[in-house]
């Protein structure tokens, strides 16, 4: 475990020493502040459009950070040959995968804390309320969804040679799931065989990370808290997908030549 945490520590250091996060965070703040400064019929209590915009930017930024950070981990180790001294240590390939995953996931968790604190402050500046439990529910499911995306990207980084192709494929796949994932079964119903079965299979196979994404609406429009039972079930569902992708990544990496 110590080894895995050591590897994770390096990934976290990499994130906060690179400029990606700062650029996206500052961009989010600037866009939100500009939008907040717009005078809408002299009413300074209008907040939901700002909350929606801010949450959307948080999702986009976090996905960009998660996918780009994860996609370069193993290829960079290979390219710069740091994989060799690393694997020459008493370290298994499974530990390496887990360490990289944990590092990216924890780093994204830290990123989310920063973003959600800003989101909370932005919302509180207008509506003078801190629905912390709602924000916690949104943030924890967001983090879990990022975990699935990170595990998937890590697997992709072992399958596809170039980080750019992996990133592009992951972005397209995640964007598709977020936009139409929930309706694929409805789409399948309108199609004939064999396309119907293919779309159905895809619908049941994909990780439904759009569930936390669509939860934004509840936060934006101040809906009551979701039952903790459902939150727990969704966490378990997303953890299962993380495990599936990680096991697949370990299996692929075991057969992969180091150089």
């Amino acid at each position: 475990m110590r080894t895995i945490f050591a590897l994770a520590g390096v990934v976290i250091k990499e994130l906060y020493r690179r400029k990606d996060f700062y650029v996206l965070f500052i961009l989010t703040i600037v866009i939100c502040v500009i939008m907040a400064s717009v005078n809408i019929f002299n009413d300074n209590q209008i907040v939901r459009y700002l909350k929606e915009l801010c949450l959307l930017l948080i999702w986009i930024s976090s996905l960009v950070i998660a996918i780009t950070t994860t996609a370069r981990q193993i290829p960079a180790e290979r390219e710069q040959r740091t994989l060799l001294p690393l694997l020459a240590k008493p370290l298994t390939r499974t530990q390496l995968i887990l360490g990289k995953f944990l590092g990216c996931w924890l780093a994204c968790g830290l990123v989310l804390i920063c973003f959600y604190v800003f989101f909370g402050a932005l919302a509180a500046s207008r509506e003078h309320a801190w629905p912390l439990l709602s924000y916690f529910q949104a943030a924890i499911l967001h983090w879990m969804a990022l975990g699935v995306v990170i595990a998937m990207t890590l697997l992709g980084s072992l399958v596809f040679a170039a980080p750019s192709s992996n990133s592009t494929i992951c972005f397209v796949l995640v964007a598709t799931i977020l936009c139409v994932g929930r309706y694929l079964d409805a789409v399948a119903l309108t199609l004939g065989e064999p396309l119907r079965s293919v779309i159905y299979a895809f619908y049941y196979a994909i990780p439904h990370v759009e569930i936390p994404f669509e939860m934004r609406n509840l936060i934006v429009h101040d809906w009551p808290l979701i039952g903790w039972k459902f939150i727990g079930l969704d966490i378990l569902y997303l953890l299962a997908y993380m495990a599936i992708f990680l096991v697949a990544a370990c299996l692929v990496f075991r057969r992969k030549p180091v150089n």
């Binding site: 250091k13 990499e14 710069q80 040959r81 740091t82 060799l84 690393l86 694997l87 020459a88």
Partner: protein, 249 residues
């Protein structure tokens, strides 16, 4: 003198990516034994199988047949690598870390206690003469400094066996001299060094025994003094063993 590194009829074949091409034999029946406290030079022309041998010893490549062991443990077991240090050729370490952070990271992988880590890092930075730059990020280092950081990381666990793959390649004469001095010092401390190189002069200076391989096969093995005694120089011996005939008389 106990045997630290042993290969037994080691054979490695790589499947060809081209259709109906027979597999490429990288190593064929390699038998090596390296004893405690030896500095062992592993020589061969490019593509002879030196790096493949090291990759097998470090568990990066699975042998097609035969066996390899470190400290009597099969190299496929991660524990076999607990007491070794490895310096690969041309490695660019994590640019965003400082030398101290890099060494601390590798120390954690070995599970070294914190106080021992601090002591060890201080010793190694002094050994590789990087104390002044220990807090600077590695991306600001020269090539020679990066190579010395690599040497320091290879020594973080105070290994009994050090595997060096072309440790002086790409370095200027001063850099080479420094690396050579460090190897000499390790030799004096009684460490075992397995040293793959093209630099025959270097090998002649620091090694006790050498092995010469060519096309995946062991061509010669013995003490440096024995090999040099039969030829005008190690270079001549090397060229003769690998079967090179000069074009110009």
């Amino acid at each position: 003198m106990s045997v630290i590194l042993k290969t037994d009829k080691l054979r490695v074949e790589f499947k060809s990516r081209e259709f109906r091409q027979s597999p490429k034999v990288a190593l064929s029946g390699l038998d090596l034994e390296v004893g405690t406290g030896e500095v062992f030079g592993f020589l061969g022309p490019n593509g002879a199988g030196k790096t493949t041998t090291i990759n097998v010893l470090l568990g990066f490549v699975q042998p097609t047949s035969g066996a390899a062991a470190l400290f009597g443990i099969d190299v496929r077991q991660p524990i076999a690598r607990q007491r070794i240090g490895y310096l690969p050729e041309m490695t660019y370490y994590y640019k965003f870390l400082s030398a101290e952070e890099l060494l601390r990271f590798y120390a954690k992988i070995f599970g070294l206690p914190r106080n021992e880590t601090d002591k060890r890092i201080a010793q190694l930075l002094k050994l590789v003469e990087l104390e002044h730059a220990s807090k600077r990020q590695i991306k600001t280092y020269s090539k020679g400094m990066q190579q010395r950081v690599g040497l320091a990381q290879a020594l973080i666990n105070n290994p009994d066996l050090l595997v060096l793959d072309e440790p002086t390649s790409g370095l200027d004469p001063v850099g080479r001299m420094k690396v050579r001095e460090i190897i000499q010092r390790l030799k004096n401390e009684g460490k075992t060094v397995f040293f793959a190189s093209h630099e025959l002069g270097e090998v002649e200076t620091v090694c006790d025994r050498v092995a010469i391989i060519s096309e995946g096969e062991l061509k010669a093995i013995g003490r440096v003094s024995e090999i040099v005694a039969q030829h005008p120089s190690l270079e001549k011996a090397f060229l003769e063993v690998i079967g090179y005939k000069p074009q110009l008389a």
